[in-house]
């Protein structure tokens, strides 16, 4: 694994902010046990945007839950500023794959939620929430309930809600999985812009290759079950970036390169699913 700094991004090349050290997680016991995450190690430096990409079933979401502190029983270490995390760490802000806005709160109260937990007074809470609602491009929608918004807008509410808590590390699990391709590209722009504006350290879990290349400084490619690190690829595309980058030659080159790795894993995953189907068909 290379620790070469991604100079092109302007990311500081100091101490890694987040270290994933030999993390191993197995579900179940005995012969039926499934290894979800198999001795995974990588790190994320301050201001860096790292993506973890892999086919379905490579343990990405397990890794997400471990790093987020929602899954405590694992071996190895997740270190933030050289300390092993115990439970959800205050430096980490999570954005979930599923629909996760509170349906009984309007947009601004959804976004202000983490500040409410911290006991921030109301006027400051609303001020800060307004700022991040503006940042994700939802100005004017403050008073609407989530049910009145589109899926993409709701996901932006979730992102603003996480950002308002001021996380040092933004941790996202396929936040755009349920969205269509155009919305996904445009939201990707938004994420890039936010990440560049805030110099936000970000770790994105995804199965979408173009999304990973479009957004990342580095990509961690995972193998299909058990999930190991297959390769770590530096993405030396210029910053600031926009979704226009997808039409560049360099972009195509990265996509092709990573796809060559990913293809093997994805087809292994597919073969596995198919044989399982066939078996259940016969039974």
């Amino acid at each position: 694994m290379t620790l070469a700094s991604t100079a092109a991004t302007g990311a500081t090349s100091g101490q890694p902010q987040l270290v994933i050290d030999n993390v191993f997680k197995q579900f179940g016991e005995g012969p039926g046990a499934v290894t979800a995450v198999d001795h995974v190690s990588f790190d994320v430096k301050p201001g860096e945007f790292v993506s973890v990409i892999g086919p379905s079933g490579c343990g990405k979401s397990t890794l997400f839950n471990i790093i987020g502190g929602l899954l405590d029983e694992y071996s190895g270490n997740v270190l933030i500023e050289r300390e092993r995390i115990a439970g959800p760490h205050k430096a980490v802000g999570m954005v979930f794959q599923e629909e996760s806005t509170f349906p009984w709160r309007n947009v601004i109260d959804n976004v202000a939620f983490p500040l409410e937990l911290q006991g921030v007074n109301k006027s400051e809470r609303l001020d800060r929430a307004h700022h991040f609602i503006d940042l994700v491009g939802l100005k004017g929608f403050e008073k609407l309930m989530p049910s009145a918004l589109s899926g993409g807008m709701r996901q932006r509410v979730s992102i603003a809600r996480t950002l308002v808590s001021g996380p040092q590390i933004l941790l996202m699990d396929e936040p755009f999985a349920a969205l269509d391709e155009q919305t996904r590209l445009l939201l990707g722009d938004k994420i890039t812009q936010i990440q560049q504006d805030l110099n936000q350290t970000t770790l994105l879990i995804t199965h979408n290759l173009t999304e990973a290349v479009q957004l990342s400084d580095r990509i961690v490619v995972m193998t299909y079950r058990p999930g190991k690190v297959k390769r770590i690829v530096n993405i030396d595309l210029p910053r600031p970036r926009t979704s226009d980058v997808v039409s560049s030659d360099a972009f195509g080159h990265y996509v092709a390169e990573i796809w060559a790795d990913l293809r093997e894993e994805a087809s292994r995953g597919m073969a596995d699913t198919e044989s399982a189907r066939r078996a259940s068909n016969r039974g």
Partner: protein
């Protein structure tokens, strides 16, 4: 075959609003006709002399009895007593029910251990506990409140426990990721997420509390609408008896309607 069903759909949705209002009009019409037919048959039965006049009194004498009842101060005193019994038993029963429901819903072990008992006890007729309540709390209001609370406790506890388990898991993970305290998890995530099932349980609890309070009053009491019913019955004043029953029906209906509006749950 499925395709033809889909083709029909757009026209069906187009006329939906208009159809619904005309539907509402015709159901109202049917209700009114039914009431008139019932009242007419009653009056005919009353005048036919087939049954004792006292058993099936004329509609008009019932109507007069209702007005008389509504103008006696005793009616309002008893109404107040019953209303207080229902309110107090709902407050106590629902309060305890929510608390127990939360414990059962939150703790998988306790839920598995104790929820079956709640299920099995829920449909037993609570009136059989009335003698016990009288021994504990006396013949006054307290024993009715205790019995009413006991009866609505189960409904509220079960719907709360069910509602708790239905809470969207990702919202719980969101709360945890923001490091919410247990208290914050309860007040800011579980309670608002469980609002609908809990309120529905309270509404159902209101029904059982009303039934139980009146039932207990008819058994043994010295005040309340149920007591009044039995008093009138002992005088064999049938018009007043029917009149009071109608008043109680209407009051229970209105109470339910108000509670439905307040809690935002539909009928």
């Amino acid at each position: 075959m499925a395709a033809t069903g889909q083709v029909k759909n757009p026209t069906a949705t187009m006329g939906f609003a208009a159809r619904r209002s005309s539907d509402a009009r015709s159901t109202n019409l049917i209700r009114i006709i039914l009431l008139l037919v019932l009242a007419g048959s009653w009056e005919a039965l009353s005048r036919s002399g087939l049954l004792f006049r006292d058993v099936v009194p004329s509609i008009f004498s019932i109507w007069a009895a209702i007005w008389k009842l509504l103008s006696t101060p005793a009616f309002y005193v008893n109404l107040q007593v019953t209303a207080w019994e229902i309110f107090a038993s709902l407050a106590i029963g629902a309060g305890l029910g929510i608390a127990v429901g939360i414990v059962l819903g939150a703790n998988r072990f306790l839920g598995a251990a104790f929820e079956p008992y709640v299920y099995y006890l829920a449909p037993t007729p609570r009136i059989i506990f009335f003698p016990v309540m009288i021994m504990w709390f006396g013949v006054g209001i307290a024993s009715k409140i205790a019995l009413g609370a006991l009866s609505c406790f189960f409904t509220v506890a079960l719907s709360t426990a069910g509602g708790m388990r239905e809470v969207d898991k990702v919202l719980i993970r969101v709360g945890r990721s923001f490091r919410a305290t247990s208290w914050q998890m309860a007040t800011k995530i579980y309670l608002p997420a469980m609002r609908a099932p809990v309120l529905n349980g309270i509404r159902l609890g209101f029904g059982t509390a009303t039934v139980t309070a009146l039932l207990a009053e008819t058994k043994l009491s010295n005040q309340g609408l149920g007591f009044m019913i039995m008093q009138i019955y002992s005088r064999f004043d049938m018009p007043s008896l029917y009149g009071l029953l109608i008043i109680v029906f209407i009051l229970a209906g209105v109470g339910n309607l108000i509670l439905g509006k307040v809690t935002g749950t539909s009928a």
